[in-house]
């Protein structure tokens, strides 16, 4: 576990949950760039979420109602059911990978841009740069 470096040591302790931070939250909320970030992020997140939930519940449903298909041998004794269950792991990893790539390439820079323009937020910038 790394010790906080000098830079972090000097980081400002921000008050939590108080409106006394001097930042105009309403203005940021109304900013078209924030709206755009939020719109894109929401659509992306809930699409991925829906895909993963549907994929997951297909497994117990398939096992319960299509045992014959699940038992079909494809590769020696390896059957459809085993490959389907293994594919669930691959799908979960893929969704995680796709999300994190999109977040690092698209959402983080958009948020950073917003923070820069709001300005005077000091230590928050490096939060996103790391």
């Amino acid at each position: 576990m790394k010790r906080p470096n000098n830079n972090e040591r000097q980081g400002v302790v921000m008050s939590n949950g108080s409106s006394g931070s001097g930042i105009d939250w309403l203005a940021i909320d109304a900013d078209p760039r924030f709206r755009e970030l939020h719109r894109r992020k929401t659509r992306f997140l809930w699409t991925l979420m829906a895909i993963s939930v549907v994929c997951y519940f297909l497994l117990p449903i398939g096992a319960a109602y299509f045992p014959k298909s699940f038992g079909r041998k494809l590769w020696g004794p390896v059957n459809v059911g085993i490959l389907f269950a293994l594919s669930e792991f691959v799908i979960a990893w893929l969704i995680a990978f796709v999300y994190s790539r999109q977040a690092s390439r698209k959402f983080d820079p958009m948020a950073l841009e917003l923070i820069r323009s709001v300005g005077a937020l000091g230590s928050t910038k490096k939060t996103l740069q790391q």
């Binding site: 949950g17 409106s19 940021i28 990893w93």
Partner: protein
């Protein structure tokens, strides 16, 4: 290193404690205690050495950590200086409890495909954590679930509700871990149940009280690394003879007579007419363990939505410096947890092939000994030193697993008690950091003492469904509240209160009226059936013994006869036990619902609770005034809690 430099007066006590525990474990008397478990008595010293090494390592880490833990941020959140990679391992350490480490390998070894299918939900759960929980919570939270809910709702009410829910979820989970751990340690190395519960409790308290989140994180990391290393070793040794080919390995599994016999036993009458190859192949098909698809979907919902509401998992996201690292930590956690479950496919099937379901179930009906017994086989069997070294190693990892998971749970409940209830509600946020850390340590000791007492009182109880219940409560109360306060503008204090109460009561209430409980009339009726059928059955079996001409067949028939006799005795004992009881714990003659897992009903009820609670509540000025701030902050990370040096 001078002693006078210790930041904590309690550290000397910590060092004394560590050496006492180590001495107690290494003493000759302790060696004698390691008898009657899976490790043969003459190899008991091996178990002692491996246990002492692992406990020594974690104690050293705690000793180092204790010098750093002086502030609240260090105690609750390890100074927010944990990297994404480290936190990923720590999340895996927190999550892979003995139930998943030993339990899933065991389910696969006994029931084949269904055991593997069961493991999938435990990984998919992290998609919810990654997509909708980890980053927003890191951006707006501080130390606890209560901090997240207090952001735009009435702080005192929200913190009180969150703390109560945290404690309820943690106690359910904790009880399952303590009881399961005590039984496991007894089966593995033969230590008395009560002693192992106390040792687990004392060790865990040493980590949490002296080292706070810093030590707990390191204990989780050490345990997760050991766990993964042990699994990889087992998989390599099991799989290598088949050239790492999945079809070749599974062909050996389905061709094994022990596996075929197990399938025949599970199928009962349905197995008539199936040849050996069909029976073997059936092991890789669904339906040997999970019979009720609706129940399974209900459990799947609790896993997929409950993991994101587990307080000890949420708390881990406050230990990293920012939302980006929170995301990185979930990615690592998913890689480690998912990889681990894929490995259990080989471990479970390997145990079915080499050890056999009958031998595994002989030690423990739930199959928990599958992994350890496979390790013993790989090393050369029950009579070899290497085999017993492997077994001792896996046993020690299992022990470390229980201690680490319990430590995470105790830290989460202690934080809820000190940070949310004591500082937030009772002291009205007016406490110095030193006072708060002291309160957190005292809370940890209280929770730890409660855990030990519950562990001892619940000896012999069937607590397996408590883990499922913990997930169900988290999914029905914590998740709807967190999700809607983050993403729904109208959500307010009334919604939080209603959601927490409705979700918790629904999940627990549904379990209380479910088939999980014991129903004396049904037990008596089942026992009566066995008793009624016994005379005819015994007569047939007696005739089979008399008719058998070969020695082998005679022996087999005699075994069946003895088993039928034992069943009869058990049924008679059950009759006696339930003779003067008429109803279950809550006064029911038979279950009101057929589902064992409440998630299917209780999760929607929890969401409805938050929605109607919010709509019916008086206008909540704070909740709507804080909405924009919360919304911008959770999406951008502006003003999030920073890592601060001492």
């Amino acid at each position: 290193m001078r002693l006078g430099k210790f930041a904590l007066p309690g550290l000397r006590r910590g060092a004394v404690l560590a050496s006492t525990v180590a001495a107690a474990i290494a003493s000759p008397a302790a060696c004698a205690m390691f008898a009657g478990g899976a490790v043969p008595e003459r190899f008991g010293w091996l178990a002692v050495v491996v246990f002492a090494a692992i406990i020594g390592l974690t104690m050293y880490v705690t000793y180092r950590a204790a010098r750093r833990v002086t502030s609240t941020q260090q105690f609750y959140a390890a100074g927010r200086s944990v990297s994404g990679l480290q936190n990923g391992w720590a999340i895996a350490g927190d999550y892979l409890s003995a139930a998943s480490f030993l339990g899933i390998a065991g389910l696969i070894s006994l029931y084949g495909y269904d055991g593997f299918m069961y493991s999938v939900g435990w990984l998919v759960a992290y998609i919810t954590v990654l997509l909708v929980i980890a980053e927003p919570c890191r951006n707006i939270g501080k130390y606890t679930l209560g901090d997240i809910l207090a952001f735009r709702n009435d702080p005192k009410t929200a913190k009180l509700m969150a703390a109560m829910s945290t404690i309820i979820v943690s106690i359910f989970y904790l009880t399952a871990q303590m009881v399961g751990g005590g039984v496991l340690v007894k089966t593995l190395i033969g230590i008395d149940y009560e002693i192992s519960v106390i040792v687990v409790g004392v060790l865990m308290l040493a980590y949490v009280v002296f080292g706070g989140m810093v030590a707990t994180t390191w204990v989780q990391i050490i345990k997760a690394v050991l766990l993964v290393a042990a699994s990889i070793l087992l998989v390599i040794c099991t799989w290598a003879p088949y050239g790492f080919s999945l079809p070749a390995f599974l062909q050996a599994v389905v061709g094994d007579p022990k596996v075929q016999a197990q399938v025949a036993k599970l199928l009962g009458d349905a197995a008539t007419g199936m040849d050996a190859a069909q029976l073997g192949q059936r092991f890789l098909e669904p339906g040997l363990y999970l019979k009720n698809p609706v129940d399974q979907i209900s459990l799947g919902m609790a896993l997929v939505f409950g993991t994101a509401g587990l307080p000890h998992i949420l708390m881990r996201f406050f230990t990293v410096p920012n939302a980006h690292q929170a995301r990185v930590s979930v990615l690592w956690a998913m890689a480690i947890i998912g990889g681990f479950y894929v490995l259990t496919l080989i471990i479970g099937n390997g145990a079915a092939l080499h050890v056999g379901a009958a031998a595994i179930a002989g030690f423990d009906k739930g199959g928990n000994m599958a992994g350890p017994l496979l390790a013993q086989f790989i090393g050369g069997g029950a009579e070899s030193a290497l085999g017993n070294f492997f077994l001792a190693f896996v046993a020690a990892v299992a022990f470390a697993t229980i201690v680490a998971v319990v430590a995470g749970l105790v830290l989460a409940s202690a934080s809820a008690m000190s940070h949310d209830i004591w500082v937030g509600v009772i002291k009205g946020e007016r406490a110095t950091p030193a006072e708060e850390v002291r309160a957190a340590r005292i809370s940890a000791m209280l929770v730890g003492a409660v855990a030990i007492i519950i562990g001892i009182l619940a000896k012999g109880q069937n607590v397996a469904h408590l883990v499922g219940l913990a997930f169900a409560v988290a999914a029905s109360s914590n998740l709807p509240c967190v999700l809607l306060t983050l993403y729904w503008k109208r959500c307010n204090t009334g919604g939080i209160v209603a959601g927490m109460i409705v979700g918790t009561v629904a999940a627990i209430g549904l379990v209380l009226v479910s088939p999980n409980m014991t129903y004396p009339q049904i037990e008596r009726a089942n026992a009566q059936k066995v008793i009624d059928a016994a005379p005819a059955k015994l007569e047939t079996l007696q005739a089979a013994i008399d008719d058998a001409t070969e020695a082998g067949a005679k022996e087999k028939a005699a075994k069946a006869f003895a088993k039928a006799k034992a069943d009869l005795a058990a049924a008679q004992a059950a009759q006696e036990k339930f003779a003067d009881q008429e109803t279950s714990l809550v006064g029911l003659e038979k279950p009101l619902v057929s589902l064992k897992n409440p998630g299917l009903y209780s999760i929607p009820l929890g969401f409805l609770g938050v929605i109607f609670g919010s709509l019916l509540w008086r206008r909540d000025r704070r909740a709507s005034a804080m909405w924009e701030e919360l919304y911008v902050r959770q999406n951008t990370g502006i003003n999030s809690e920073q890592a601060v040096g001492h």
